[in-house]
């Protein structure tokens, strides 16, 4: 009898899944979220812990920082369609997912991302996993919200090169999108104007990005008390990582593996490339020359190459940089305020190997969203076009 009931429910489940082709928005929250009064709120085992001054930094059993949640399932799901839709770019060749490819850790595998018409950009695309927690975005920390951040690439002539009027006109031309926006923003739906608004676009994209949660790695199992989650080599790596010799955990602080501060570490640029001034250009503060936001290391094994412009092809090379001595790669004539934790730790080669072993335990894509098979615009998805091998290796 139970089996019959189960079968019936299974059919029901299949039925719900089949609805997607007609662009219905999900009414359930993505994994990791509980629906409360029609809105999605994060639930994580880290919410059993406090953190000092509620700062969301600490050790193994420390709570998370504040995050953006409370979006509706429909807003999140609409954001998912927009995220993958090249309709958002001027020439319809780029989607958000072009530079934030799901299977590449929501980065793009390139040292410097490629924008409109094949233009090589200044910096690499950061991973989007756990962006809900970040108070400041972009490598130089110049945006204070997801909504502010995403307008950067949307309208930058070198990136998606769109403009607000064109974006709105394109979306409003699509009956499918008009219906979906009306479903995602029912209070705001205005039959007279019938128009999609820019804040709705930004909210939906932010809602989707903020749903990308990665907090279930093998490291996390260890943190929550399962000692066997890590191999002896990985544990050795964890101890190097948090040691006061390597000092990785001082800035890449658990549980997010970022303390969200700016730091100058003095990474070398590619030959012939001038020093990226980082936060100095964004703030005008010369003391921040070469400063970048400390990135999270979650899913870092998926996001090679590393640093702000793919300065290091592998994780091994990235960790070896910190072993090279304080300021060893600062160009002549530059006076940088190198962070005080950058020193000469004299780690052994085996310790660097163990660090790489440990960093791979931060991989977790369990809550990977589904890529839409079809897009409301009728365009084909573009993000999974193969990158030519030559481009992958070169800068």
């Amino acid at each position: 009898m139970r089996a019959v009931l189960a079968l019936a429910l299974l059919l029901l489940a299949f039925g719900a899944r089949a609805g997607e082709a007609g662009f219905e928005l999900a009414s359930h929250c993505p994994p990791g979220f509980e629906r409360v009064d029609g809105r999605c709120f994060l639930r994580s085992l880290y919410q059993q812990y406090a953190s000092l001054q509620s700062a969301g930094v600490g050790g193994l059993t420390s709570g998370l920082p504040a995050l953006r949640d409370g979006f509706t399932p429909q807003q999140i799901d609409l954001g998912r369609y927009l995220f993958f839709d090249p309709l958002l770019s001027a020439d319809r060749q780029l989607a958000c997912a072009s530079c934030h490819v799901p299977e590449l850790g929501f980065a793009d595998g390139r040292g410097r991302s490629v924008g409109a018409g094949g233009t090589e950009l200044q910096r690499s695309a950061p991973s989007l996993w756990n962006v809900a927690f970040f108070q400041r975005l972009f490598w130089d920390a110049r945006a204070a919200s997801l909504e502010e951040q995403l307008q950067g690439p949307l309208y930058d002539p070198k990136e998606m090169a769109n403009s607000p009027p064109v974006l709105l006109a394109d979306l409003n031309r699509s009956e499918a999108y008009r219906d979906l926006f009306a479903a995602a923003f029912p209070q705001e739906a205005d039959a007279e104007q019938g128009g999609i608004t820019l804040p709705q676009v930004y909210t939906a994209l932010a809602a989707f990005e903020a749903s990308l949660i990665s907090l279930n790695s093998r490291y996390d199992q260890y943190a929550h008390g399962y000692a066997a989650a890590l191999t002896p080599a990985e544990l050795e790596g964890l101890n190097v990582f948090r040691s006061f010799v390597a000092r990785c955990a001082e800035c890449h602080t658990p549980p997010l593996f970022s303390n969200q501060q700016l730091a100058v570490i003095g990474v070398p640029e590619a030959p012939g490339v001038p020093l990226d001034p980082g936060a100095q250009a964004a703030t005008g503060d010369a003391s921040l020359r070469g400063a970048f936001r400390v990135p999270s290391l979650r899913n870092v094994a998926l996001t090679a190459p590393y640093m702000h412009a793919g300065n290091f092809p592998t994780l091994r090379e990235a960790v070896a940089f910190y072993n090279g001595g304080r300021g060893h790669a600062v160009p002549e004539g530059e006076q940088l305020n190198i962070h005080w934790h950058i020193w000469n730790p004299q780690l052994g080669a085996a310790e660097l190997d163990r660090l790489v072993d440990f960093l791979a335990t931060l991989t977790d894509q369990r809550f990977m969203p589904q890529v839409p098979a079809q897009l409301p615009s009728g365009l084909s998805p573009v993000h999974n076009r193969p990158v030519p091998a030559a481009e992958r290796q070169g800068e």
Partner: protein, 504 residues
């Protein structure tokens, strides 16, 4: 309503009472006799800790389960820690232990056994990183001799309710004892020397007592950084570059420092050459500094004996001292509301370091002061200012209180709850935080919908928990479930119970 606490009962204009002010004019010494009780000291921190019963000061203890493990010379301390359950006491007999010990579980007492003066020695041989790392809540580390590590002697990462006592830490890397991001702890009766940064460093922590320690021949003796409610009392701090420091370091995720009491310490001859690592914050500390307060608010300095510090006895300053750190607009630079009660100060400033000499030159001085405020705060206070050679204290008022004795400890009367939070629904967090990656209520994800599981198991949460522990392939059209034993039985059962009562 400022009351007159102290009555001026006499003005003696005697030859012996003349002092030379900094402009060289004659000042009159004001002799005061206390007439009525001063106001009581209070602070945000003192309200939180309340009044301690006289016999209940620092009664914090690591809870024990009765489990005792003994480690002998030649055995591994880490093996014992790995085998121990929460609440275990690990006794380490005298011997030499060449290892890094890490404690990632709660309520562990790691206790050296000292026999006939012989300590258990943690020996880093100049190649190991840290001697002891702990992240668990409720950790005691005591009775060890720690030497020759590259990093720290004892390092805590966010463990609350910690006790680090009776350890000797010699010639060990960067920090001797460094609890970081923890709440409620005691660092007492330790002896530390030869540390190239701070011998005792309280970093981004709350409610910590640093008491009865002896720290010498290190760059910084005791440093309180970006922390609140810290009591530094009865320590013997000598021949460091700087004796006792309270800092806001800009660029850290927790931005404030405040409610620090520095009381009844011996701060003597802190004139050691600065041998800090280039680029570190303490590389900026001038040799010959007794106490250095950078940007930390509401620091009370009381009852200390501060003598023979060649640059200055006490320095209050802002970030201008730290010339090598980028600006952080979220870090407030001023050392607000400094409070200087009575201290014995003598023979400070006799041979100032170069950076201090340069500063003195701008004030047409050559000898370093007992007390200097380089910012010139207008919200500070001092008692009996005329006793000391001071600079930059022109706008200080007279303190309305004369003791902090009502704050016997800044540790909390009750231990912080194990995880820092109470009333957590672990079933809900586990279900949504982990199970929901594959199971939604009425929708097929990777695994079958929770609705179907609910129909199959009805009143049997233990059955779900047991299956999740060791799943077997049941359904042709679904992938096999990975085992979830890492969650532990308690969380699995709670998640199963939660799953069974879901309605949507």
């Amino acid at each position: 309503m400022r009351k007159l606490m102290i009555a001026v009962i006499g003005l003696a204009v005697l030859g012996a009472g003349y002092l030379l002010g900094k402009q060289g004019q004659v000042q009159v010494t004001v002799i005061k006799v206390k007439e009525e009780p001063a106001a009581e000291f209070s602070s945000a921190g003192s309200a939180a800790v309340g009044e301690h019963e006289a016999n209940a000061v620092r009664r914090l203890a690591t809870p024990t389960s009765g489990e005792v493990l003994v480690v002998r010379d030649g055995e591994s301390i880490q093996d014992a820690v790995s085998a121990a359950g929460p609440g275990a006491v690990i006794k380490v007999l005298p011997g030499t232990y060449r290892e890094t010990v890490y404690i990632d579980k709660d309520n562990i007492t790691l206790s050296g056994v000292i026999e006939g003066g012989a300590y258990p020695v943690l020996e880093g041989e100049g190649v190991r990183n840290d001697a002891i790392l702990y992240s668990g809540n409720g950790t005691t580390i005591e009775n060890f001799y720690i030497t020759h590590y590259k990093g720290n002697g004892v390092m805590g990462q966010a463990g609350n309710n910690f006790i680090i006592r009776n350890n000797i830490v010699v010639d060990t890397g960067v920090y001797g004892i460094f609890p970081q991001l923890g709440k409620n702890g005691i660092v007492s009766h330790n002896v530390l020397s030869g540390i190239e940064d701070a011998a005792i460093y309280i970093g981004m922590s709350d409610n910590v007592d640093v008491v009865y320690n002896r720290v010498f021949e290190s760059v910084a003796g005791i440093e309180i950084e970006n922390s609140r409610s810290a009591l530094v009392e009865a320590n013997y701090v000598y021949n460091n570059t700087g004796g006792i420091l309270a800092f806001v370091t800009p660029g850290l995720p927790i931005k404030t420092c405040g409610d620090v009491i520095v009381r009844n310490n011996f701060i003597i001859d802190n004139n050691h050459e600065n041998f800090a690592i280039p680029g570190s914050i303490v590389a900026n500390v001038p040799a010959g500094t007794g106490i250095l307060i950078m940007a930390c608010d509401d620091v009370v300095i009381e009852g200390n004996i501060i003598t023979g510090n060649n640059s200055a006895g006490i320095i209050f300053t802002d970030f201008t001292l730290a010339t090598n750190i980028p600006n952080d607009p979220e870090s407030e630079p001023n050392p607000d509301r400094p409070k200087l009660l009575d201290n014995l100060m003598h023979a400070n400033g006799l041979d100032p370091a170069a950076v201090v000499r340069a500063y003195l030159a701008t004030e047409l001085q050559t000898r370093g002061p007992d007390i200097v405020d380089t910012v010139g705060m207008d919200n500070g206070c001092i008692l009996n200012a005329s006793r000391y050679r001071t600079m930059g204290l022109e706008n200080y008022s007279e303190c309305e209180f004369d003791t902090t004795a009502n704050v016997a400890s800044y540790t909390l009367p009750e231990a912080v709850p194990a995880r820092g939070l109470e009333n957590v629904d672990i079933g809900k967090l586990t279900y949504y935080g982990v199970c929901a990656g594959c199971h939604a209520y009425g929708v097929r994800l990777i695994g079958p919908p929770a609705q179907i599981i609910k129909a199959l198991y009805m009143e049997n949460p233990a059955g779900i928990a047991a299956y999740a522990q060791q799943p077997v392939k049941k359904r042709e059209d679904y992938p096999e479930m990975p085992p979830q034993g890492h969650l532990g039985e308690e969380a699995l059962l709670a998640a199963a119970q939660f799953m069974l009562q879901l309605e949507n």
